[in-house]
């Protein structure tokens, strides 16, 4: 069978970094092809080459066997390539439906945009994906998850010959993923070629027929899914055997570190109360849009609550003041690293120093040495993949950026650590790393509150699981009672505990 779209000995370097070296890849009609690799392996770079964002330094792109030159993303789109990029690319000021159809709006005979037709198509699309968003609402303020869903709708709306998805599921929870896979499989059976990237191996094995593994920009191997086990795949990716993914150590919960009392933010969440003790990991689970991020944002003082309060170590926090929260020993790793986690233009070291400007001072002045040391220390502990610590964070791969966000907050040695989708876009190796880290922190007496849409993570890491549904806390499950079923049924609001 012949490849619809193929990459032949393509290489790409960014300055010193050789992101991709002589990589070849064939996308065949009716086949879902997975791309696996650690953070910074070169997956997104490959995607960006296939979609005309980057030109390969050398090597060729073949469309139906004939060499093509994708100078601009527009060219790739002309060729029938639809792409979901790793980072959402929405227009915040425009409505969701306009976001989906921008540049391809259905038109009447006179070239006038046919809005009714447009909305109609959008609704049908959302129905298929089971998305409960109002197509007419503006894209601004959508959570990462919702943005991700819009991106998916965008890509699916152009009935493409090739569908490329760079970690589309990173922020999604179980049933959105299920829906997505349903649609993708349908497309595939209609003869669409699919390239799928994810750090969740189970998803790869569920969706794909073939998997290509990258390591440090070079192609390691290509297999039929049938011929390979997850463990082999991991070994190929990481180049070594992997220790347990959920290394949860038991630790005796100490006194109450964080107490949230009847917290309410009208329109988003209502009457949320819970406690987190020193030494325990509490997970906040729920479906997309349940309001988890909203809760932790408010706890950390990003948003102002309409009612209720937050206590840390027995002392009430000043509302709506991250500074106060930090002073009290709180730390929040936000879900949106691009907008909230990092200052892309600033260097790695300066980003890490940003949360502790007081700690890297000599007298009134900043000490570059101290700054550098702080960053270096955590870069090593988190196995950060970087060229120079003085490089802007923006050039790091998605996962490595996530590591910088973690470093930035862990460097503060918080007493209460709140993490929102902490392993979003992080490869299995590092994921284990991060999990061990969280577990160690807990053991060392830190109170950890973890928002995660990844059920296995929740079940694997949490001492207690709090479940939210439509902005309310509907269940609290101790570790031994927390199962896939119990959590999901609570999250979907079927039972109220």
């Amino acid at each position: 069978m012949d490849a619809v779209l193929a990459l032949a000995e393509a290489s790409k370097s960014f300055g010193a970094v050789r992101a991709l070296r002589e990589v070849s890849l064939r996308l065949v009609a009716g086949e879902a092809h997975a791309l696996a690799g650690e953070n910074g392996a070169g997956k997104s770079t490959l995607v960006k080459i296939l979609s005309g964002v980057h030109r390969p330094d050398n090597g060729r792109i073949l469309l139906d066997g004939a060499p093509v030159d994708f100078g601009r993303p527009a060219d790739a789109q002309q060729a029938g390539v639809a792409v979901i990029y790793q980072e959402p690319t929405l227009f915040p000021d425009l409505s969701i439906v306009e976001n989906i159809f921008m540049g391809r709006q259905p038109r009447t005979r006179f070239g006038r945009i046919d809005r009714t037709a447009m909305s109609e198509q959008a609704r049908r699309l959302f129905a298929r994906l089971g998305v409960h968003l109002d197509p007419e609402q503006a894209a601004r303020g959508l959570s990462i998850a919702d943005q991700q869903l819009v991106e998916i709708a965008k890509a699916l709306s152009r009935d493409a010959r090739v569908l490329i998805m760079d970690e589309p599921t990173a922020a999604l929870s179980g049933n959105e993923v299920a829906r997505l896979f349903g649609v993708v499989n349908a497309l595939r059976e209609q003869g669409c070629a699919v390239l799928f990237i994810s750090h969740r191996l189970d998803e790869i094995f569920e969706l794909c027929q073939r998997v290509t593994t990258l390591r440090d920009g070079t192609l390691v191997a290509e297999h039929l899914i049938a011929d390979i086990t997850p463990d082999d795949l991991v070994r190929r990716m990481v180049g070594r055997d992997l220790d347990a993914l959920y290394p949860k150590q038991d630790s005796a919960p100490g006194e109450i570190a964080l107490e949230v009392h009847r917290l309410t933010r009208e329109g988003v969440f209502t009457d949320v109360s819970f406690q987190v003790r020193r030494g325990e990991i509490v997970a906040l689970a729920g479906l997309v849009g349940a309001g988890r991020t909203e809760v932790v944002r408010t706890v950390f003082g990003i948003d102002r609550q309409d009612a209720g309060w937050v206590e840390v170590g027995g002392r009430r926090l000043r509302p709506a003041s991250p500074t106060a929260a930090m002073a009290a020993g709180l730390a929040l790793v936000p879900e949106d690293r691009r907008q909230q986690g990092l200052v892309m233009d600033l260097s790695i070291e300066r980003n890490v120093a940003l949360t502790g400007l007081a700690d890297v001072r000599r007298g009134p002045l900043i000490s570059r040495a101290a700054e550098h040391a702080r960053a270096r220390d955590w870069a090593v502990r988190l196995r950060l993949k970087f060229a120079r610590l003085s490089d802007p964070v923006g050039v790091l791969s998605g996962g490595n950026q996530q590591k910088v966000v973690l470093a930035k907050w862990l460097a503060r040695k918080p007493s209460v650590l709140i993490v929102d989708e902490p392993t979003r876009g992080i490869d299995v190796g590092t994921k284990a790393e991060v999990h061990r880290l969280l577990s160690e922190l807990a053991v060392s007496g830190v109170a950890v509150l973890m928002v995660s849409s990844e059920l296995p993570e929740v079940l694997g890491m949490a001492d207690r699981v709090l479940v939210m549904h439509e902005g309310r806390l509907v269940a609290e499950l101790p570790r031994d009672e927390a199962t896939e079923e119990s959590v999901m049924s609570a999250a979907t609001g079927r039972t109220a505990a």
């Binding site: 991250p322 990092l342 200052v343 600033l346 900043i366």
Partner: protein, 314 residues
Amino acid sequence: MLARRWESLILVLLVAVCVWAALGVDGFANTSNVSFLLLDTTEIALMALSMTFVVVAAEIDLSVASTLGLSCAVLGWLWNAGLSIEAIMPICLMVGTLCGAVNGLLVTRLGLPSLAVTIGTFALYRGLAYVILGDQAVADLPAAYTTPATQPLIPLVLVAALGVGAAVLLHATGVGRAVFAIGANQEAAFFAGIRVKRIKFWLFVASGAMAALASLILTFRYASARADNGVGLELAVVAAVLLGGVSIFGGRGSLPGVLMAVLLLGVVRNALILADVANEVLNFVTGLLLVASVLVPNLGALWRRRSTSQQEVP
């Protein structure tokens, strides 16, 4: 590192122009002219210092020249009312600070775009100046202050001292780091516990205060306090800051660069006037310089990209 490249670019340009003027334009290279030249840049330099902070934080203050005017008017008014100049000066500084504070409040508390706000106060403050001093021009200011103001020493020392201070503050302290972070991504800065609003507020306050300080020097230099002092200076200041390599989108820039830019513009002006170049050409050159300073590096990059992409095409 971009800023570095920029500074050196401006520096080279500055040196080049100075050399050309010294050799080619008679009357340029002598102490009295140089001191005129430096004096002429004092006010712009002072306001450029604070403007740099504001622009790095991705805001802008177009009301500086009007603030300066208002402070001048207050000075003249109080002087006519018989207050002692020593008492008036701090009052003027306070007036400037207040103007800045108003801008700051409107921007931070109401989240209004600073461009819009300061276009408004641009008119408001100038207007108040007219209300206060009307059509008078107060000229009988004490020689004890006007004379030294026409000598380069004091203004220069002032600019130098404040310049160094500002440079250190922006490039070597936590506040500076915070300002850059705010300019580059204020949401992320806020999530990192930086007091975005508070810092921005103080930047505007500083901007106002600097304008007032500049107003004192200007008034004494010209021994004349009028409501329309310094009309149009805001564009000169912004031009200098941009020429100095500060990104109008915030998050990028360097103070030495800006100071050199101020000097560059001053030298070019002075040299061209000495060379009897018509005023219209002068404006033209100013504009060209501004565009070229960004265009040249960009075109370089553009050309490089072009050429590489050509060899990429199979």
